[in-house]
Symmetry: C2
Subunit: 349 residues, 2 copies
């Protein structure tokens, strides 16, 4: 492995997206497909100037409807494709709107599978106008292998019993809570939606394995001693498909603190029916054991439960019971309250 | 992670190289740069028809010197670049020899950093002649995420306390020993030199992280119940740069048996001066714990020591002492002998 040099030569840095955004809704008629736009409205309202939709669209974020030219005049710097469709493709009916955005002075940001540069004609027009086409699913060039060197500043990583149960949400809520307490904190995004919200980051699951820890090192660089990087976790060390992503991110992030994310009642790993979810104790223990390799001082501050499927009383009872059993704070960041305040206290202890 | 689809659409399979090879030595004058050619001569002599070198070269493998046309007449199917240089580039002085090989009916196989298709003119000539340009550093297209599904057949994976201490060598020696005992066994290559020796495989460190376990699943597919796949390990779960590669390979290989590879006396991780080597006990324990996720029956058959830097007596004493201490066979496959026979017995126990 040490003989494998990077195929890139440029110095790498995390992606940086031009903000604020004009959210593009295409011709979408199903609210479910506009998840990205809603997420940006909810988590980064100050970075969203307005929305732009084709006449066929019926969904709306409730933000002001603006043309690309109007949005640019109000400070927008990119058109962000805020919708998905089942194929992850860019339909021909969207293309004239994308060109209109480029001509209005906006870059284009996309999380679709297809690369913007592969949309016929788009790259030529962007090149002529000096505009950027940014695909957030694709990692930056110039990534290298990790060094394991201890970096300055403090780091928190959200980890999980499984995929898709609140690691991004928890990291966003924790970074907001730290800032609300007057601390210097940044959310560090490791997946495409998080990258759009943060305005930058690295899509860790798309990074070549040999560079996975190195990319994580780049994602949370040296910082002031009292600065917190709150890193969005990915996957699970227990997932038979994605553990490599989780371990590279854990090693490279060298977190001082982890929060274990879980959805009470989930018993089977997502997409892998024959795999049981690990216990919370196992999840804490394995993350601490592996994380100690690059940060011997790693500790678990508590747990974040996604209780959106439970009623208020039941959710509170489940969290209280697990908190008592494990001797750690357990909170649902969406519900907030005293439990969440205790979880933040524990992060800072 | 589960929302990230593969950017590829074709069905994937491991790389397959056209054999036998004509080993190309370029204009090499330093034996150290011809390591790949020597490795092929030593490990795959039946797959090497001869060697071909420019007049400037002073190194030789001792195999017959053949022109591409002569080699093709004797059955060779590809020219394999058997040398490296510090930049990993293909010098202009080599190009006419590569073209000569294409014209003689040989494909070209390379492990250089630069892609063969990026050598000016080469792709056009290969296309015209219907010849293949194969870069073994680059994974096959069509890789997908792992499933964790239990596969048929038996699997052995070599793992290590560190990089570059004999995982490939051990896997080759073990697969040869199994065949010598009349068993049905295949060496499964996960790095470029191993791929050239085996005539196929997947360069696991170049695979996108999300597909790492899936690629390992593809590398050792379903097989007959008594068939052994002996999988070449990569890196170390304890390496701060490469553990993601090691874990994806461990999960996807779902080995029944591991052999822990080590170099006695090595105390510091390669390329990471501030990281101490893990103990043998820790290495066995962590590999078994993580490997049990996809194969609960995983066990450690013993250890393979690289003792090339020690005298015979000292090597034997070190291995005997560690074998006693750990209660497991310890052998150096290069030295072979009773110790190695006991290690193979233990694999089959």
């Amino acid at each position: 492995m040490v003989n494998i040099n990077t195929p890139f030569t440029a110095d790498a840095s995390a992606l940086r997206l031009p903000q604020p955004y004009l959210l593009f809704l295409g011709d979408t008629t199903e609210a479910g497909f506009a998840k990205t736009a809603y997420g940006l409205r909810d988590w980064a309202p100050d970075k969203c100037t307005g929305e732009y939709a084709l006449p066929e669209a019926t969904v709306s974020t409730g933000l002001p409807a603006l043309t690309p030219a109007e949005a640019h005049a109000r400070g927008a710097r990119s058109l962000l494709i805020g919708v998905a469709n089942s194929g992850g493709v860019i339909p021909a009916i969207w293309v004239s709107a994308l060109i209109e955005a480029l001509e209005a002075g906006l870059d284009i940001v996309s999380g679709m599978h297809v690369r913007l540069a592969d949309v016929p004609g788009l790259a030529a027009i962007a090149g002529k106008l000096g505009r950027q086409l940014i695909d957030v699913r694709h990692p930056p060039a110039g990534l290298t292998v990790g060094t394991g060197r201890k970096r300055t500043g403090k780091r928190l990583l959200t980890v999980g019993t499984d995929c898709a149960l609140g690691k991004k949400y928890t990291a966003l809520a924790v970074s907001q809570a730290l800032v609300a307490r007057g601390l210097d904190a940044d959310f560090r995004a490791s997946g495409q939606t998080g990258i759009m919200i943060a305005g930058g980051g690295i899509p860790m699951d798309a990074v070549v394995s040999d560079f996975e820890a190195g990319a994580a090192e780049l994602l949370s660089p040296d910082a002031a001693p009292d600065h917190w990087d709150v890193v969005e976790g990915q996957g699970s060390l227990f997932h038979p498909a994605y553990a490599a992503v989780s371990l590279g991110l854990l090693h490279g992030s060298q977190p001082d603190v982890i929060i274990v994310c879980h959805q009470p009642g989930r018993t089977i790993m997502l997409g892998s029916d024959s795999y049981a979810l690990p216990s919370l104790e196992e999840t804490i223990d394995l993350n601490l054991r592996l994380g100690a390799r690059t940060n011997p001082a790693i500790r678990c501050a508590g747990l974040s439960f996604n209780t959106s499927h439970l009623g208020e009383e039941e959710a509170i009872a489940v969290m209280a019971e697990e908190s008592r059993r494990l001797g750690l704070p357990v909170a649902d960041p969406i519900r907030g309250g005293d439990q969440f305040a205790r979880l933040i206290d524990s992060c800072l202890a």
